[in-house]
């Protein structure tokens, strides 16, 4: 029982990170029907920028408390990622907004490769380690070990998701975003500045990605130039699982994918009597994704495409 609970905790923490990154995919898709493959790399850049800032601060002000240093790292990483996403949208997607849908998809992949190589040039091929700045308090709950960091990650993720929900449902910008998602043309006729709404969508997604990036590197204690690739792929799958274009779906999909992965990797060996081992961890998650798509092509919470204009 304690093992099962531990796997559940592992999955929830992993899932909240997936969910945060998935939000960026799903928001952009909801409005532009574009899969922004560079989003995983934005997450990576967030982690790298934060780590650089943390490194500089540790050298310049060694007396600063660790939490403050990490916070400063996040506070620099967020605007850096926002600026990056703004630039990407302006350079790689906006000129192609009227082009066939395949064209921006390909520039997205291009941007992803460019960012990855740029990061390799700037930060090198080595793994960058996350310095031990955060408190390592641990709690035991029914035999499962839960660290303070894990609690912070889940609570922060839930807070961000709730905040985004409020923003989209209650604010003026949110209404403009929903209007643009339903029909760009009509929204424009109603006086919505569509370009600005789209930029805002990218920027909000990037800010969340920056936080997720720092979470991942703090959680695993390292960052590297290709960390965004697999994370992006998993988060994208989470978005599809929950129903791409749907914000609640991304949250559900992320959490679900994290839990499936943890339970899958933890139990697949025992269930199949060693026939399938834990190296099928990733396969398991994608297998569930395929199953869901076969029976519910629009994802768990996705609306039917026919409803879209």
């Amino acid at each position: 029982m304690d093992i099962f609970l531990q796997q559940l905790v592992n999955g929830l923490v992993l899932g909240s990170i997936y969910a945060l990154v998935a939000l960026g995919y799903t928001m952009v898709y909801g409005i532009l029907e574009l899969i922004n493959f560079a989003h995983g790399e934005v997450t990576m850049i967030g982690a790298m920028v934060a780590l650089s800032v943390i490194g500089v601060l540790m050298g310049a002000a060694p007396d600063l408390p660790g939490v403050m240093v990490v916070l400063a790292g996040i506070l620099v990483a967020i605007p850096a990622c926002m600026a990056l996403a703004f630039g990407i949208e302006k350079v790689a997607y906006r000129p192609l907004r009227k082009a066939p849908r395949l064209a921006p998809l390909i520039t997205a992949i291009g941007v992803s490769i460019i960012l990855q190589n740029l990061a390799m040039l700037i930060w090198g091929r080595q793994y960058v380690s996350f310095p031990p700045l955060l408190p390592v308090a641990r709690f035991e709950f029914l035999g499962a070990h839960i660290s303070l960091l894990q609690i912070v990650i889940v609570v922060l993720a839930v807070t961000i998701m709730a905040g985004l929900w409020l923003l989209v449902e209650k604010s003026r910008l949110g209404r403009a975003m929903r209007a643009t998602a339903q029909s760009k043309e009509v929204a424009e006729l109603m006086g919505v500045n569509v370009d600005r709404v789209i930029s805002a969508t990218f920027i909000i997604g990037a800010a969340i990605a920056a936080i997720a990036g720092v979470m991942v590197s703090a959680y695993y204690g390292l960052a590297h130039y290709y960390m965004g690739f697999m994370l992006g792929l998993k988060a994208f799958s989470a978005a599809v699982l929950g129903g791409i274009g749907n914000i609640a779906g991304a949250m559900l999909g992320g959490l679900l994918l994290g839990v499936i992965e943890a339970l899958g990797a933890g139990y697949i060996g025992d269930i199949t009597g060693g026939f399938l081992g834990s190296h099928y961890q990733d396969v398991f998650a994608f297998f569930v994704l395929i199953l869901v798509l076969v029976f519910r092509p629009s994802g768990l919470l996705g609306e039917r495409v026919a409803n879209r204009a």
């Binding site: 592992n10 390292l222 943890a262 961890q281």
Partner: protein, 380 residues
Amino acid sequence: MNFGKFAVSALSLALAFSLSGCGKSEDAGNVIKIGSVAPLTGPQTHIGKDNENGARLAVDEINAKGLELGGKKVKLELYGEDDQAEPKTATIVAQKLVDAGVVAVIGHLNSGTTIPASKIYHDAGIPQISPSATAVAYTAQGYNTAYRVMANDAQQGRALGQFAVNKMGAKRIAIIDDRTAYGQGLAGEFEKAATAAGGEIVAHEFTNDRATDFNAILTSIKGKTPDLVFFGGMDPQGGPMARQLKRLGLNAKLLGGDGLQNANFMKLAGADAEGVVASSPGLPIDSMPGGPEFRKKFEAKYGVIQVYAPYAYDAVYALVEAMKRANSAEPAKVLAELPKTDLQGVSGPIKFDAKGDTEGGAVTLYEVKDGAWRVLETVK
């Protein structure tokens, strides 16, 4: 692709000419050319230069003493080459040395470069002795030209398995491997040895060489209450694994091979590196039979020893001893004598088995204590 091949052969041809050009000025009969290959540029430069200097020290010593083969006084000449730790470059450089007429090669440094180059040396029929390549595959190709003077991964895995059960007292053992040639090979040998020594393997889990999340497999392992977790893989996975192991409250020691026994692992694992045990083939320099004396000689000439210099030094002596027995530097005759090698080297006794591996190569175990790797003991 075709152009690439053409460029490679053109380049090696050009290089070969430039090399043979400088060799011709001397009396060809009296100079014996030996190649030495290691990365001399890139991130492993310091280790590569160390290998070359080790070989050079031996060559200079032998020349100073004077060497006589077939009734003639001969002089050894070392051709140092740079393979950049790149398999592709390694084959170009190997061909270049063969074309230049070297009679033997000391190298390469990495398993990844040694293995592709070994085919070229084998086809040319010249002996190759690597001071530092540990992959089992190197000597398993059936080449009569491939030798090494350091314990291979199989010997390391065996030593680790026996150490885990007999010295660390492990009874219930969990194994994780990263599914690479190195990790899987090491874990396989470890499993065999640990089982043979009386340990029980309670779990065998897998990951890959890009993963960072081991929470799921470690939790699953935790349910089987092992007292030792063995990881066959490298430091980028081992570091976070050590952290997650502690965080999950898994009360088991982490044990690994030479993939973990380095400074980068310490950086990635942070405080959680404490108590981790890992092995490295060979002896720490000061425990080698000829270690202190070698250190004095080497440091007077080249500065601090990095790692493998004593092995490169021994490799040259093993080669020259075979030449002496053959009373010739002709590769075919030297190859016939190499299996009979019985040398008291700086790093220990050197004897080759049928495959070209060293018999009873030493493996040293280290433990992290107070934030540094400390020697636990050396097993043969």
